[in-house]
């Protein structure tokens, strides 16, 4: 296995998970502190984007999208999907730490299942397509 390439893939996975997790957190934090509830009017969304936390959240989510694209250029879709699901666990942890949301025993079990699944998928080759095999 090409170790630098594998390390690079996991670095992209970590970057994507972090950007998406903190991007969503900033969005949640920013929108919860807005004076008005967001409806269907586009102007309300445009105004929400002027909030520094919302703007930073959107910027991080756009960067997350590009990071995921870079990830898909080097790894299988069927590899990327489950491995990046660790983000669901990060969202739980961030929600508990920063937004003081409750994490039940069932949710910890869910986190364990996700980690177990990621470990199993992570033990398979990250790129199995024809393009990768012919390099």
């Amino acid at each position: 296995m090409d170790q630098p390439r594998t390390a690079r893939t996991y670095l992209l996975v970590l970057l994507f998970i972090g950007l998406r997790g903190f991007g969503n957190l900033l969005l949640a934090f920013g929108t919860k502190h807005l004076p008005a509830v967001l409806g269907v009017h586009p102007a309300a969304y445009l105004q929400a984007m002027l909030d520094p936390a919302v703007a930073a959240g959107i910027a991080m989510l756009i960067f997350a999208l590009f990071t995921r694209m870079a990830l898909l250029s080097v790894a299988d879709l069927s590899f990327v999907l489950p491995v990046t699901a660790v983000g669901y666990v990060l969202a739980e942890v961030l929600g508990k730490v920063f937004l003081h949301e409750e994490v039940t025993a069932i949710r910890w079990l869910a986190a364990f299942l996700i980690f177990a699944g990621v470990a199993v998928v992570g033990s398979t080759p990250q790129n199995t397509t024809k393009e990768a095999r012919t390099e």
């Binding site: 992209l12 970057l15 960067f63 590009f66 990071t67 995921r68 694209m69 870079a70 898909l72 250029s73 080097v74 299988d76 879709l77 069927s78 590899f79 990327v80 999907l81 489950p82 699901a85 669901y88 739980e92 069932i106 949710r107 079990l109 869910a110 986190a111 364990f112 299942l113 996700i114 177990a116 699944g117 990621v118 470990a119 199993v120 998928v121 992570g122 033990s123 398979t124 080759p125 199995t128 397509t129 024809k130 393009e131």
Partner: protein, 119 residues
């Protein structure tokens, strides 16, 4: 109506990911440095499959927003996680990825975790 929104979310997400995966594999290895991001942004506007994938992503996003507006998150998240199954099957059949028993089992474990997380 809720199942229509689930179907739009799942199918649009799957299509978006398949198109991105196909086109980015063809484009070659990408990076996320300043030049890499600029190159990716250029690819997004130049390659029609990537443009289409962004359109699908927008459909998926708005369908999911409408779903969570009308349904509890405990329904919306596991229902939309069905895209995992659809995408893994499509990755094998359309993108010709090797999805062996280990990868399939790991994907099912993750899916089980997501469904539990939404309870």
């Amino acid at each position: 109506m809720k199942w229509l929104l689930v179907a739009i979310t799942v199918v649009a997400t799957a299509l978006s990911d398949l198109l991105q995966s196909y086109e980015l594999k063809r484009a070659g290895e990408q990076s996320v440095g300043a030049r890499g991001i600029a190159r990716l942004a250029r690819l997004v506007v130049e390659r029609r499959y990537l443009i289409l994938s962004i359109v699908c992503l927008a459909f998926s996003f708005f369908a999911f927003m409408a779903l969570v507006q009308s349904q509890p998150l405990s329904f919306a998240v596991p229902a939309s996680a069905a895209s995992f199954i659809l995408e893994t099957i499509a990755a094998k059949l359309v993108l010709h990825e090797q999805v062996g028993p280990r990868r399939a089992a790991g994907t099912l474990l993750v899916l089980g975790g997501i469904v539990l997380l939404a309870r």
